[in-house]
Amino acid sequence: MNLRRDVFQAIADPTRRAILLLVASQSMTAGAIAANFDTARPTVSKHLQILIECELLRQQQNGREIYYQLNPGKMKEVAEFIEPFRQMWDDRFNKLEHIMKQYKQKETE
């Protein structure tokens, strides 16, 4: 249950959210990630540290470089990404169903 709170804290910050979106498609070094932000490098490092503590990111040693990647073992986070998208469609379809039920009544009257 701690995990859920941590994940939420991690994504509540816009910079950390941007980092997650960056590494979602490919693993990157801290330097490559920092190059995407105007923020100072130590600030980005701090964000990376928080994301690792929350287990959203994983470190992988590749030669002398450390790469950061989304933790692939946790589909829960992926579901968190998709949930608002699903909710949006659910709301639309609920509305559609509601409106069409009125048409159905008109037909049977």
Partner: protein
């Protein structure tokens, strides 16, 4: 009975599936996609043009609370009443490209049916960006709310 919308989006693919069952006969579900007046109601959009036929096209325009206008358009490639629609979809002025949408309308009983929406994007990266749009907006909204509350507490 509550019927939930299901999203199938496998990692690294440039497509996704949206599946939903309705407490409606299939012809009524189809009308919700074919008739301009009904589309306008449930999509909450202005329908500038909707030619529900093969080689037809459509154009929607949505206005948000601030008065900003957003355009959507596409071409209809297949239109089989109560069964299938194949069309393209594009958000004007956005970098998300054109998506191909295959709609299948499936009767279950006389009073229930299912919609299967198969959406193919130009790349898996673009698909993920579109998938994350409501996620990013939701977080931004939550963030703004927190800022509003914080501002009031000052």
């Amino acid at each position: 009975m509550e019927r939930k919308t299901k999203i199938n989006a496998e990692n690294g693919k440039q497509e996704l599936e949206i599946i939903r069952e309705f407490d409606l006969p299939v012809d009524l579900l189809f009308r919700a996609y074919a008739e301009a007046e009904i589309v306008a109601q449930w999509m909450g959009t202005k329908v500038l043009k909707l030619e529900s036929k093969k080689h037809g096209s459509y154009q929607f325009e949505t206005t948000d609370r601030k008065g900003n206008k957003y355009g959507f358009n596409g071409a209809i490639h297949e239109f089989i009443p109560n069964r299938k629609i194949v069309r393209t979809f594009e958000m004007d002025g956005t970098p998300y490209g054109v998506q191909l949408e295959i709609y299948q309308f499936v009767p279950i009983t006389d009073d229930t049916c299912a919609l299967k929406m198969h959406v193919i994007y130009e790349s898996s990266e673009l698909r993920d960006q579109v998938l994350k749009l409501p996620f990013a907006q939701g977080i931004n909204m939550a963030h703004n709310r927190i800022q509003d509350i914080a501002a009031k507490m000052k």
